[in-house]
Symmetry: D4
Subunit: 253 residues, 8 copies
């Protein structure tokens, strides 16, 4: 029957994509602006990259703009032009529609070749030889519903924590190795002027195999938060992609 | 300060867009596949159209594919090609990535000129001279949190109920005019072979000023449901757009 | 890495089993005593049979005995002996440990060849030519969490509603065809003396393609309920298995 | 249509008021008795002042009197007479109706020129040059519903934390600068005789740009709490208004 | 000790007010705009009147304006001027600050002599000789927390149901006397042009001893709702006050 | 060890009492004032009687007096004197402390020989030969927690529904035999003058084997409710005891 | 009307009792076995004593016996005989019915003259001259429902913390004066042989004006817990009554 | 009647089993794979052993396989063959059906003679002479529902903490004796290669009378977790059984 044909097709396609992406060059946790941008630039460079997102929908904190006014701002438009987002100039700032920005970024990231799995939650890290080798994932509903279910693993050469303010992967590291991160993982007070440069500068590797990008960088280095201005997120995502791409390229030669 | 400049820009941009779209040619309630497709084709025809969505993110039931396997199926690919979604052919069926489909459809709809407001919930209908003239909307959190707050109105020449299974606008009609819809609003058992044709055929006006599209059609006419095969949704959205466009055009001449 | 090898093995094994069982001779909804017994006897007769259970664990209402006193009773022991459950005789009644009964029944049913999928919920029926052709299933967490996700289908020649008191599949039929089931689906007052015979007698087909077994029979025919005495459940499961087996055999010849 | 005229008027009026008050002389967080009194006296002195309140209604802990007996007490009546609240004398104490007190205070504060926005929650501080320059606000439903939405900013020359026992703004400071507030933010045991004088005396600036008033003072300095006697709250609000007014006046000359 | 002096004063004052107001000329249930206006005009005419409100704060649906934009509109300003609310004229409409309107109305109603008890919920009606003689009230937390606690009674010559859309008192009548109110208690679709006149016209007595005012009138007579324009509420409150005042006056002579 | 000695003693004592009381002359469901009074008078007459209460504590709606003011009233004191409750006379009425009344009544009922099991919930009726023969009970936490656990049975010659407003046993009857109770089970409006006599008069058998007492009588016969005056409850409990005692006596001779 | 007569009587009686007991010799927080026993012996000695209980019913942890088996045990019966509880002897131990024990103890305590207020929660301490002078109480629903309502005070010469395992009053002390109670407030592992003697021995004053009794003693001194054997609770309550009585007597001479 | 015969039988059988097992050789807390394996091997050696499980069903984290894919893996099959589980070989790994594994293990453990009580929760430890002598248990619904009910005790010569990641019994020890377990009880990052050997090696006694097995070992010794590969759990359960059996045997001689 066509009903079972459809069911079989979907399950097989999903399984094929999932089993092909159990081993990756890069796994990104979190499909917000920084994670998507990292995925976009890695995939454009032909890196095998997978994003894990625990929510049903993709886009993180973009959709609501500021307090539900669904408009977002930027200080420049280079990456936005690349992904096809219309902007308006107002003095030094540019505005864009939040829904257009969220969908353009996710769409272009997918089109570039990034694999994205939603409804999957990272619950731990695979660690060998003091190097992060993968993430332990579970159906996101298991923790929400308190179901006692074991996880599985998705592995990669490099992992990116793009989970935003919780900095979830770094938190897991810090829980068992508190000496590595002596200050609380916590963004600093808002200061738009200094935050973007700080986030981009500190984007990088924090432990063998584990990179951070986006607001997770603010948490780990106690940098100022920035509010509904998203340029720093995109640049941080782009930078982490470039750092890892260089590393992959040099290790392949 | 730049912090207040950003805040002012966002609030003013949003208010400008919102007040410009309090009067429309068409208002669509629900940003799922049928509502987005209707918005896409109406906007392409230069119709002034606004979509209202109560959730924070856009895309309705697309994101999860079937039971969370994020793959969707289609019986043909014409509209998908138009909006730039990659498909794979498997016998009579085509598959696509659910996230790519959701974001491509929303992105192209926005790019075509549709205005979309998320976090707004339709709580009633404006009715004059026995004709639907607009919808009564509220902050979606007001009903979720049980806050006693009055609504405001967004009006249009024609309204589309694209709210899916609840058929929310038709339900409001039926509550006060039960004689118009004597059978319960309820989709019939699943039958993929007959559902798509039925949904498209019955897409149209159900009360002066009120059209229905997508799964709301199944509810109103007790048609079979179809599951994770989305062609009928797109065609229903396209058809309702064409019906209203013709009507607008003829009334303008 | 071994972590991804394990993950790949599990996902592929599950997918293979699932896709193999999208088409079946029989699908049973509900892994309580009647559903398990039906599966056991069908599998013993080499019928291709799959059980769908929405909970994480199998066994339905057996585990708690009466009010949490985890002991169950029977009026005879024939089926219990067949599946290896120790009983004690007390006058006309036999007792057994509830945990032993639950695990023995599920274990022997699985060993006999029944496929069992937990965490899957039936949310509708596939109906063609006024015959039930399959069930529409979804990840059970989708409805619990209110996630808007489409379902998929598992089909069979015959379906058994073994969902107990809610009589879930029959309820779906009744919602759209109330004339078929004019009285409310509701078990009658308790009366142990008359209930067992009634349940077994009325076990059978209630609509083309749809059989009922166990407490669902009480609901559909308003028969007396029985409490923590489980013989009727086993006999009803056995009877429905025999009825369907005969029908399959005759249609194959 | 009049329905959209009403909607447009309301949205535009609100936006005008909001964008005019993104930059202020003073922003007060919390519309309880101390925050309202501070707003009243600042506005009377022609200071540009805005109050942010996360609840839908204004008045904080006044409405319920003591344990729901809606009567409040005072040790003198000077400010009450100024805002038009009827009192009764009983020995050394005066009583008033809680509802009359709450509405008179809020009404007169509004009439004096204070701008008040309800349903807005302070979620962080804007900090530059080690000085508090503004507050980061969000729709109060975002945190209640766990929606991932970015905030915006409302700025001022001086900020007043009138949030009562949580001392929310001071808590944000203390979380990142624990050395500034070495003792836990916590009011001391009740002692009516000593509390009022203590609260008023300690009302003032606790960090460059940040003042405290009302019960937040008790929390920061571990002073005794006082219960349903509200004179100290009004005097603390009046004092903080005078302190800031002097500072604004001297910096303007 | 002063702590117990304060406690004693508050409890005794409250008890004195409560016991004095167990028998009234009029009891109003609901402290929204219509209930407060009714109380204001009754008290001005020296009628003994008590308002019961189940929430902690007073003002009903005024505080949030439209969808949280805290601005309200009116078609004329006569009553507003009487209670001291500042308005702005915009074409045919007037706007006012929602917080100013809520607090001015409640403050003036209290000042006029109305007794208001918050945190009390009407749970039934006292009925004798087929006439409503009082209301059965309880601590509003009892029903919220599911505590099994008996109520007490507050009586009056006339009762006003100003509970808004639920029309709570009329619902209690309708539950036991469905023949009196054959249509569902439900406001009709929004239509600002016709709603105000309809509400005011239909304000009046619906059963011996029971009057209705405000949105409850829309529910009972299935009249159009109106949204964030509050003139009809005030006029309905004023009208019900006048009707009852006349009746009281004529019965006293 | 003494710890297991204590455990053994408690479990054995409870089991002995429970198994001794699986067959009774009378089972009362609900340990509020009417149920306790019925138990008291039956036990005094040496009838074997058991009370089932789903809550952890005994006393039903007595504890909170009126709206939490823990005082109760009576029109006479005969039964109160018998059970040792101190009263005060105020005109035609008597008051007593609610806690004293609750504990005196429960204590004396227990002392008189009534067996009481708390934390047990009646979930159905045992019906044979169109006569109620017992009740189906379960651990009250099973339904609260949604645990799928079977019940057990406690039987008697006569059952008393003393469950108050829900009239739980009668509701079970009515659900399967709606023709027996054509009007909704619902107390009428409050009217203290007529309610007590009505409740006592109508106390009695409503179906072979099933008696009602207390507020359940109001529900079944749509009689006026009465509020925090408890004489009718005691008299209804006493009357049902007398009716059943007579019946038991006559059937024994 | 009689309805308002009843209401007035109840409110006035309650208010009279409450205002009479705002100043006491002793206030006990917690109406479990230790608190009730303390109240019983103090009232027998003509001490003015009030118990505050946050639940609706009285009796604390007695009602459920052990794990819901409603039987309790004792090592001797002297106090039980005094309050009229029937016991059975089993070797070294005595059993009693839990419901009889709870109601007898509460009934006799009330009869002896103790005033008991239920539904009142202690939320803080009144402290003057480094001595506990009273407790700060609130409607227990205020904290449950998160309502922002101020408390009132009930004062006494001596306070008894009989709140059981939380040791609520001592916790309030420890929060502001952690140096007084350096170890966590936590009962030790169960050891029935040593626990009773320990609890009774350590019962006494822990801070000027504040005594502890019952399981709170275990928490403060980290003594072993004991389970469903209640002799120690009664003896601790009796001892604290004797200690305070002696102190009151000596201070009166 | 047969209904009460069934009830009596079940309650008596349960009570007999429970009172017989209040004193044991071994009590195991937790019926997951390690606890069941320990019970299986102890019972096979004729040790008197009881398992306590707080859930209604048995099997712990087995049922869901990995993320709901109900398949489990093993590195060898010796124990699986012993308990009758069908496996498939894939390179170095074996797979089995999760439901078959859960039910086979529980069934064989029960058949071997282990007593299992579900719905019972360990809430503390009995400690005498610095040796664990038993566990303090309660109805699991008491803590879930927040009911204030005392526990009872189940004792044994040796206790096994097989509660998995929470390591509940060890946590209770650590709370009162933090010096014994200076590091947080927390499994380390996943590393399948090293985890199994570590868990088995460290299985053993951690405090006089208290053994640990299964994932609790990972928590106590901060060993790597392993995911859905269950060989280590079975071996740890077998080892702890052997260790205790040797100890019991040597102490008996």
């Amino acid at each position: 029957m066509i009903e079972t044909d459809i069911s079989r097709l979907i399950i097989e396609q999903y399984t094929q994509r999932m089993t092909e992406h159990l081993d990756n060059d890069v796994v990104i946790v979190g499909a917000g602006p920084a994670g998507l941008a990292a995925g976009y630039y890695l995939a454009k460079s032909k890196v095998k990259v997978t994003i894990i997102e625990k929510k049903l929908s993709i886009g993180g904190g973009i959709w609501g703009g500021a307090a539900g006014y669904n408009v977002v701002t930027f200080e420049d438009t280079q990456i936005l032009e690349e992904i096809g987002v219309t902007t308006q100039k107002h003095g030094q700032l540019y505005t864009a529609d939040a829904i257009e920005f969220a969908t353009a970024l996710a769409y272009k990231t997918k089109k570039a070749g990034t694999e994205i799995f939603n409804l999957l939650e990272a619950e731990d890290i695979v660690l060998k030889d003091e190097t992060v080798k993968g993430i332990v994932v579970n159906n996101a509903s298991a923790s929400t519903l308190g179901l006692h279910i074991d996880p599985f693993c998705i592995c990669a050469k490099y992992m990116i924590d793009a989970t935003g303010h919780p900095a979830e992967l770094v938190s897991m590291l810090r829980q068992r190795k508190p000496e590595l991160f002596p200050t609380e993982l916590l963004e600093y007070f808002m200061n738009v002027e200094t935050s973007e440069a700080g986030v981009v500068e500190k984007t990088g590797e924090v432990f063998p195999g584990l990179y951070i990008a986006g607001m997770a960088v603010c948490d780990v280095y106690n940098l100022p938060r920035m509010g509904p201005i998203f340029g720093g997120m995109l640049k941080s995502g782009k930078k982490v992609a470039e750092l890892i791409y260089e590393r992959l390229r040099s290790s392949n030669t």
